[in-house]
């Protein structure tokens, strides 16, 4: 008799001897579960939980059994009955929540966990589960409250701490998250997840070199895992001096680690494979195309602000849009715009990458546009499985090439991706004739105020970008500008400055560069309209580098504020270049730091010209390709057709 069989026998005997001992049934259940005797394991747990209905672990093990056995719906019915009969049964409410979650019924799961944690305010698990679903439903404040509560009850639980840090990061509170993660790291440096989260938080508080080092440490810890490479890909573009080649190599490193197992449902499709391994037989160049949009950010987010107007402008008879997105929660107007134009909305939460790819194939998506990249909710793995015969990278962590062999095209424009940079991309470049995006300004943007310098008597520079983009060298160059214009001031505004320590650190860096702290104003986060209104305090915006501002430059332009730009090599280093050229302001762009500094100084010396430009800028932008949605729609449509024709004639 082998060991398993022996322990199985022992456990069985114990149940026979002491049938009223729940621990015996529990032990038997675990053994049976381990040997995948699901039916029997279920019965054992049922015995145990009949004896101790309030046992949470047993209730959850029963859910495990049901999950493996595929009997979640029956379990759900049973648990609902139990909750109704005994409304105080925390274990039953919690288990019911887990079942609902596994069935993809997140809203109901949320309610079940809410009930459990309200009934048992001092149990950490229901609170943690509640926090998890809240976070997935984008209800971050409530997620934070629940996870903080759980963290308080069980401060040494690393998973809870990590969950809490993740939520804080999504709320742009990276310094707080970093503090939690650093404490975890003091105990052990063995967790790739913690290292990677810390790397992200570290990037976001503007410590780019440390961040890249952390990502590299994680890679050394587990060289074949995807996450550390993904983290490297999302921290490297912020690093001063990171070249296009280095980024492409990192992206390839990540892409190569994505598993490529062919999904079983390749066969049996209505459209058997041909081009790119997928079927396009019977397709014509002019047929109506199904366009899949893949992103967790189809909402008020750079992805939304920069793409929604373009998608709205596509002829719905020519292009059927199918969104593969996540629920943004109610009330987000841009999410509502995506829903209004989508023929179909597939919630990607709860779909594995393979299932997601299979779903896209079932639907028969012709062109998939990835708007997520290697970001937080990256579904690049689904792209690696191939969701469509043509796959295109556009916006959404589009900081450089994806390095992914299955990504066929990359949308750029003549400024972002001039032909001489083509070798820095693994994809084929699709150059749009104007800009590569179309900005949809918010209806609530305040009116543009007169140039503040006219009443202040001095120039106020501003940069409203996130701190990840502000490197030490950027600070040194800005300090240089401030030295050259001794009465000028600088306003920096970002979520991160709501944290006092972070603000103090940045102020210190300016002080070290010889700048009187009085000349630097650091402002924290505010609502979007107030954020826009604060441009009324700014005369000239300064672009950070190497990671230039995308949406932020568009917003500044809309508020009448031009940006002094330093265009670099990688894709992320050229956003502002594209936007300024499209707005008719090519004379605001430099290609090295000396020219950048000189340009800022020169522009600052012409107040009359600045005032005149500001007064006409919104009208100019409104008439420019940057916001001309019908014109952009025509360009985008042509690019999609081009990609399609290239695919079917391949």
């Amino acid at each position: 008799m082998n060991a398993i069989a022996m322990s199985r026998h022992g456990a069985l005997r114990r149940c026979g001897v002491a049938p009223a001992d729940p621990a015996a049934w529990n032990r038997l259940g675990r053994i049976l579960l381990a040997s995948e005797e699901l039916c029997l394991a279920g019965a054992a747990f049922a015995e145990a939980s009949a004896l101790v209905p309030q046992a949470l672990d047993i209730a959850l093990l029963a859910v495990e059994v049901a999950t493996t056995a595929g009997t979640l719906p029956d379990t759900l019915v049973r648990l609902a009955d139990r909750c109704a009969a005994d409304p105080f049964n925390v274990a039953a409410h919690t288990a019911r929540g887990v079942v609902l979650q596994r069935l993809g019924r997140h809203d109901e799961a949320l309610d079940a966990f809410e009930v459990a944690s309200a009934l048992a305010p001092d149990a950490p698990l229901p609170a943690r589960l509640l926090g998890g679903v809240m976070a997935r439903s984008n209800r971050l404040r409530e997620a934070e409250a629940a996870l903080r509560h759980a963290h308080g009850l069980e401060p040494d639980n690393a998973d809870i701490a990590n969950d809490l840090a993740t939520v804080l990061m999504r709320m742009h509170r990276h310094a707080e998250a970093r503090a939690i993660l650093l404490r975890l790291l003091e105990r052990s440096r063995e967790s790739v997840t913690v290292l990677c989260n810390l790397a992200t938080a570290t990037t976001c508080v503007g410590l780019q070199e440390e961040a890249v080092a952390l990502a590299e440490e994680a890679i050394r810890l587990d060289p074949d895992a995807v996450l550390p490479w993904r983290t490297l890909c999302s921290s490297l573009p912020y690093l001063d001096g990171a070249s296009g080649e280095r980024l492409l190599a990192a992206a390839r490193g990540c892409a190569e680690r994505l598993p490529r197992a062919l999904h079983p449902s390749w066969s049996g499709l209505t459209r058997p494979p041909r081009a790119n391994g997928m079927k396009v037989v019977g397709s014509s160049p002019t047929m109506t195309l199904k366009i899949g949009l893949l992103s967790g950010s189809l909402r008020s987010h750079p992805v939304g602000w920069l793409t929604v107007a373009g998608f709205e402008a596509l002829d719905p008879d020519e292009f059927r849009l199918i969104c593969f997105g996540r629920d943004a929660g109610g009330g987000d107007p841009i999410a509502a715009r995506f829903r209004a134009i989508a023929r179909q909305w597939i919630d990607t939460d709860g779909l594995s990458d393979a299932a997601l790819a299979a779903r896209a194939r079932e639907i028969g998506v012709d062109i998939l546009i990835d708007l997520g990249g290697y970001g937080d909710s990256s579904r690049m793995l689904a792209c690696a499985y191939r969701m469509a015969p043509v796959q295109i990278k556009w916006v959404g962590m589009q900081n450089h090439s994806t390095g992914l062999a299955e990504m066929d095209f990359f949308i750029g424009d003549r400024w972002e991706t001039p032909p001489e940079f083509a070798h820095l991309y693994s994809e084929r470049l699709l150059c749009l004739p104007d800009g590569y995006v179309c900005y949809s300004p918010p209806p609530y943007a305040p009116d543009v105020a007169p140039l503040p310098a006219l009443s202040n008597g001095f120039i106020t520079f501003g940069c409203f970008n996130n701190l990840a983009k502000i490197t030490l060298r950027v600070i040194q160059v800005w300090a240089d500008i401030l030295h050259r214009i001794p009465d000028a001031r600088l306003v920096l505004k970002t979520h991160q400055f709501s944290d006092a320590d972070t603000a103090a650190r940045v102020r210190g860096r300016f002080a070290a560069a010889g700048i009187d702290p009085e000349r630097i104003a650091l402002r924290g986060s505010s609502r979007h309209r107030d954020f826009m209104a604060e441009y009324n305090d700014i005369d000239i915006a300064l672009d950070p580098f190497p990671y230039s501002s995308g949406l932020t430059t568009c917003e500044a332009l809309w508020m009448g504020v031009p940006t002094v730009v330093y265009a670099g090599e990688i894709f992320a280093a050229r956003h502002s270049l594209s936007h300024m050229c499209n707005a008719g302001l090519a004379d605001w762009v430099a290609y090295d730091t000396e020219t950048y500094t000189a340009l800022a100084v020169a522009k600052a010396s012409g107040m009359a010209a600045l005032a005149a430009l500001r007064a006409r800028l919104r009208a100019q932008v409104k008439a420019s390709p940057l916001t001309d949605a019908p014109r952009f729609g025509t360009n985008l449509a042509a690019a999609l057709r081009f990609a399609w024709k290239a695919c079917i004639s391949a």
Binding site: C83, L110, L119, P121, A336, R337, P442, P443
Partner: protein, 475 residues
């Protein structure tokens, strides 16, 4: 084994239930309320929670039952009466609402909520003078309550003092924004009284104050287009659509402005909104515009009915029935009218000419029918369709072999395209396109002649009047 016990206090449970109901989370509040009810003695507060919960779960009957029982048990509790008054008001039982609200006012004479409830019920019962008295008191007690104020303005207008009504709304507006509903009510009020400049100014104040609301921008666009400011109106509609992308009315107008790819026809929801809002002014307005179509249709119908007297006639998009009036004295058979706007149909019904009136989209209605008609008429209706292929095919199927389809369109003068969506949300068609589309649908053109549709700003709007017959008849 990890045993977890419920340790929440009854008070904490009840508070949680209340917070969850406020947050619209009935799914979580329900089980917790069930638990609380096992350990807390019955009380008016618990009943109120249960009633709110039932209503939020879409079961007003259960809410009503909870309140009935609770009031029986605690007849001196003003909150219970108020809650039931509000519920009855929402359910349209205004009598009961008024009586319950009056009871609440007696129990707690200082409570402005109770007075406002009573006022609203009175308003619904068509007793504006009493309503005004209650609402004025409520509003005086809480001048910042926008709902009280809006109701008071309605009562004031119902009492025949529109100027004071507008004043009431305006008093509640602050230059810093806020009071969104009040502002929209004031703008709408101005539009209804044709004070378009003032409406635009109010909307603009709201925009500057940072209001984020589709309705505000939509109303602004409406007022601007009434002032002939079409470019500005298009911008306002585009902003409205950004904030309320689900609104078919706004979407159609944005498409009409060329900012979005055009739709092939005006959506039924758009038509319903436009014509429901237009019904009571339609006849006088069109007469003022020199609307010529019914007369022109009459001349053609006369020619047809001379040869086929007594044939049933179908009037597509009959509106207020002007076509029916024009042909009513001819030897027609029973007249059927179809229209998507209930309010337009009500006007048509009042004229007493149509044997049958159907509320439906004409395309849907035709596709669901299998009747045959001798004469099918459509006066100023086809201009709400861009592509005509589907509509013509459906009409062709419903037309008798010797029947005529008589309709008007506006002329698409410039441009190579066959049809275009104009800024006002109507379509225009070219002669070539009409001939092709009719041919493709199996029609022969019996007559297609230029026809002035109406006058706009003094200038004639050119169009065509077409008589089409089944192609088989020719040869």
């Amino acid at each position: 084994m990890e045993v977890v016990h419920a340790t929440a206090t009854p008070l904490a449970l009840v508070q949680r239930v209340s917070a969850l109901i406020d947050a619209g989370r009935a799914g979580a509040a329900g089980p917790l309320l069930a638990a609380a009810r096992q350990i807390v003695a019955p009380s008016p507060e618990l009943s109120l929670l249960a009633a709110r919960l039932a209503e939020s779960q879409g079961d007003p009957g259960l809410a009503r039952a909870e309140l009935d029982v609770a009031i029986e048990a605690a007849p001196d509790h003003a909150g219970l009466w108020k809650q039931r008054a509000a519920l009855c008001q929402r359910l349209g039982d205004f009598d009961r609402a008024a009586r319950d609200a009056a009871e609440a006012v007696c129990l707690d004479p200082a409570d402005p909520d109770a007075k406002a409830l009573l006022g609203s019920a009175m308003l619904s019962l068509g007793r504006p003078a009493e309503a005004w008295a209650c609402l004025a008191e409520a509003c005086a007690a809480v001048p910042t309550n926008a709902a009280f104020r809006e109701a008071l303005a309605i009562a004031t207008e119902a009492n025949g003092d529109p100027e004071a009504a507008l004043g009431t709304l305006m008093e509640g507006l602050s230059p810093k924004g806020g009071a969104l509903n009040l502002r929209n009510a004031a703008i709408l009020f101005c539009i209804r009284h044709r004070a378009f400049q003032k409406a635009v100014a109010l909307a603009e104040d709201g925009r500057i104050a940072g209001t984020v609301d589709a309705c505000l921008f939509g109303l602004k666009g409406h007022a601007q287009s009434s002032l002939g400011l079409h470019t500005e109106a298009a911008d306002s509609y585009a902003e409205a659509l950004k904030l309320g992308p689900d609104d078919p009315y706004v979407r159609h107008l944005v498409q009409a402005s060329g900012l979005l790819p055009g739709a092939k026809r005006a959506p039924p929801d758009y038509l319903r909104t436009v014509f429901d809002g237009y019904a009571d002014r339609f006849d006088s307005h069109l007469i003022a515009l020199g609307y010529q179509i019914p007369g022109a249709i009459r001349r053609i119908a006369m020619a047809y009915l001379d040869r086929h007297p007594g044939r049933p006639v179908l009037d597509l998009g009959c509106g207020t029935g002007l076509v029916g009036v024009a042909i009513g004295d001819l030897p027609v058979g029973p007249l059927t009218g179809v229209d998507v706007s209930a309010r337009m149909l009500a006007e048509a019904g009042a004229k007493g000419i149509y044997a049958t009136l159907e509320e439906a989209d004409v395309q849907d209605w035709l596709d669901a029918e299998n009747s045959q008609w001798g004469l099918i008429l459509a006066g100023d209706v086809v201009c709400y369709f861009g592509a005509l292929e589907a509509l013509l095919r459906s009409v062709r199927e419903r037309l008798a072999g010797d029947g005529w389809f008589v309709f008007s369109v506006e002329e698409h003068v410039d441009g190579e395209s066959g049809w275009a969506l104009l800024r006002q949300g109507r379509y225009a068609h070219s002669r070539d396109y009409l001939e092709d589309a009719l041919g493709a649908a199996g029609f022969a053109v019996h007559a297609l002649r230029p026809q002035v549709i109406r006058h706009e700003a003094g200038a004639p709007v050119p169009g065509f009047l077409i008589v089409a017959e089944p192609a088989a008849l020719v040869n």
